[in-house]
């Protein structure tokens, strides 16, 4: 019995041996590739740490500061309850709420204006840059390159330059947001336009319509839902951006925030951050609901 069972087992092992070997070598190869990738990432990490002069020891020495900083953010510095957590005395914590809300409103208006102007420009730019309906090759090339520059240069860099040209205040901020929005939306509209159904376009061209009417009646109705969705998303992004444009003097709540951080007004920093986060989360919720409705309406 015993040797009757051993033979088939040995035979099975003999048959499996090449398979097991192949599996092992395959695994070894995969492992080697994974090790290589990990080694590469580690080397890059080390290189990057050296270039950026990040000393791991720094983390230990400064680690305490981190908790100290956030602790002070949340500790009342003045008023009757000084020393307690900020939420024990909201009136003291949000002492500047009138001014802050006004600045927050301005920030939203900046985002709105930037999105509005940028969206209108982006729609036109996208129509002109699209390969399927664009009115001319030279114009198309120029517009495409222009949109590229507008979207690749960060808005705050535009803001820095505009502050010098237009003076301090929200105007350069609005312009910076406009330019960046124009570039970003222009690209997205171009893609939308390049995917439209061309039959309505031919139908309208065949009636003798000129380019603006063709674009307005045959293309815009097709891209409108997608365009509005992108524009809403852009508004959301612009609210975040508008909140920091004040760092370079381009208006909005950022100017108070940078002052509070630089001058170590801990409670103000915390209050402003809370206001900004709440606003952003709220805008997020509203726009994502709107976008959902838009998609639904489009599907119906």
């Amino acid at each position: 019995m015993s040797h009757g069972g051993a033979r088939p087992q040995r035979e099975a092992e003999a048959r499996l041996a090449p398979l097991a070997g192949a599996w092992r070598s395959h695994r070894r190869q995969r492992r080697r590739r994974a090790l290589l990738a990990a080694g590469l990432v580690l080397a890059l990490l080390w290189l990057a740490a050296w270039v950026a002069q990040v000393d791991p020891r720094l983390i230990w020495s400064k680690g305490g500061n981190v908790f100290g900083y956030f602790d002070r953010l949340l500790t009342l510095e003045g008023g009757a309850e000084a020393g307690a957590r900020v939420w024990h005395d909201p009136a003291e914590w949000f002492w500047g709420w009138r001014r802050w809300l006004r600045l927050l409103g301005d920030t939203l208006l900046m985002a709105y204006l930037g999105t509005l102007f940028g969206a209108l420009g982006g729609l036109l730019g996208g129509l002109l840059a699209a390969g399927n309906i664009g009115p001319g090759r030279a114009l198309r090339w120029t517009v495409t390159r222009g949109l590229e520059v507008c979207r690749t240069v960060p808005d705050i860099v535009f803001a820095l330059v505009f502050v010098i040209a237009f003076g301090l205040g929200p105007l350069p901020g609005v312009l910076a947001l406009t330019i960046h929005t124009l570039g970003a939306l222009g690209k997205q509209v171009t893609e939308l336009v390049e995917n439209v159904d061309m039959r309505p376009v031919e139908g309208v061209v065949a009636t003798g319509a000129a380019w603006p009417q063709m674009a307005g009646f045959a293309v815009v109705p097709q891209v409108l839902p997608g365009f509005l969705g992108y524009a809403l998303l852009r508004f959301e992004i612009n609210v975040r951006s508008a909140a920091v444009l004040g760092f370079v003097g381009a208006g909005g709540i950022g100017q108070d925030l940078i002052e509070a951080i630089r001058k170590f007004y801990y409670n103000d920093v915390a209050a402003l951050l809370v206001l900004i986060i709440l606003t952003v989360v709220l805008i997020d919720a509203v726009t994502s609901r709107l976008r959902f409705r838009l998609l639904e309406g489009h599907a119906a």
């Binding site: 039959r199 309505p200 031919e202 139908g203 309208v204 061209v205 065949a206 009636t207 003798g208 319509a209 000129a210 603006p212 009417q213 307005g216 009646f217 045959a218 109705p221 097709q222 409108l224």
Partner: protein, 260 residues
């Protein structure tokens, strides 16, 4: 009178339409037949100038329209209304607006783009829709209509262009027999009532025979048949649809004069 002289279109090495000579007198209902790929669509699209001819001329009342550009080209396009197999309406716009698109070249851009269509244009659009029995659908989105209804909207759009010629590229190929009959009847009715010449590409020989007063046949881009429907015998049709490219080039055009 519309006259084509040696009209040719090449796509790379292939010749889609090959030196077609054709005269279409006023008020004629002309059917263009031929098997798939024969060049029927290309021919009509060249007349409307959606496709640029490679050679040859298009004359309308003696005026050369082959090389028009800009506003003159748009005016010519308005004058020869085009009807497409796939209707080519704007699905998201309502029926009335789709018909009003036929008036675009009669209006300054700001009026149409702001939706301030003149009353007379609205009246024309409605009466065209009434004539095609679909005025009740004026407020509906074009995309929600059946194929037959959409094609009638497209015919109404063509009508309000006040065209001198109507070109119809397989207007009934996507429709069921009943709707196909309705649409062909509508085209024939317009042709008779307003005396507008209609050039229609059509696959159904029955509809071609019943609705057209003259038929021309294309094979491999060449005009190989021209005559009244009676002349298109079974034998002639079989020949037309069976011709291979080489034979079409060699075959002399079979012309049977139509009593005009």
């Amino acid at each position: 009178m519309l006259e084509l002289q040696g009209l040719t279109r090449r796509f790379g090495a292939a010749t889609a339409v090959d030196a077609v000579d054709l005269r279409v007198p006023e008020g004629q209902m002309l059917g263009i037949i031929g098997r798939s790929g024969a060049g029927k669509s290309t021919l009509l699209r060249m007349i409307n100038r959606l496709t640029e001819p490679s050679a040859g001329r298009i004359l309308h009342h003696g005026r050369d329209v082959t090389a028009l550009r800009g506003a003159a080209l748009r005016g010519w396009r308005t004058g020869c209304a085009m009807i497409f197999q796939q209707f080519n309406l704007v699905p998201r716009l309502d029926v009335l607006t789709n018909v009003l698109l036929g008036r675009l070249n009669h209006l300054p851009a700001w009026r149409s783009l702001s939706g301030a269509w003149p009353e007379a244009d609205r009246a024309m659009a409605l009466s065209a829709l009434e004539q095609l029995d679909i005025a009740g659908l004026a407020g509906q989105r074009a995309g929600s209509l059946s194929g037959g209804q959409q094609q009638r909207v497209a015919i109404a759009r063509a009508l309000v262009q006040e065209p001198a010629i109507i070109l119809a590229d397989e207007p009934v190929a996507s429709l069921d027999p009943r709707n196909a009959m309705l649409v062909m009847d509508a085209l024939a009715d317009i042709n008779r009532r307003y005396g507008i010449p209609v050039l229609v590409n059509i696959h159904s020989l029955d509809l071609a025979r019943s609705h057209c007063e003259r038929l021309v046949g294309l094979a491999a881009g060449r005009l190989v048949f021209d005559g009244p429907p009676e002349a298109l015998t079974e034998e002639a049709a079989r020949r037309l649809y069976g011709l291979e490219a080489a034979e079409a080039a060699a075959a002399p055009p079979q012309r049977v004069p139509v009593a005009a």
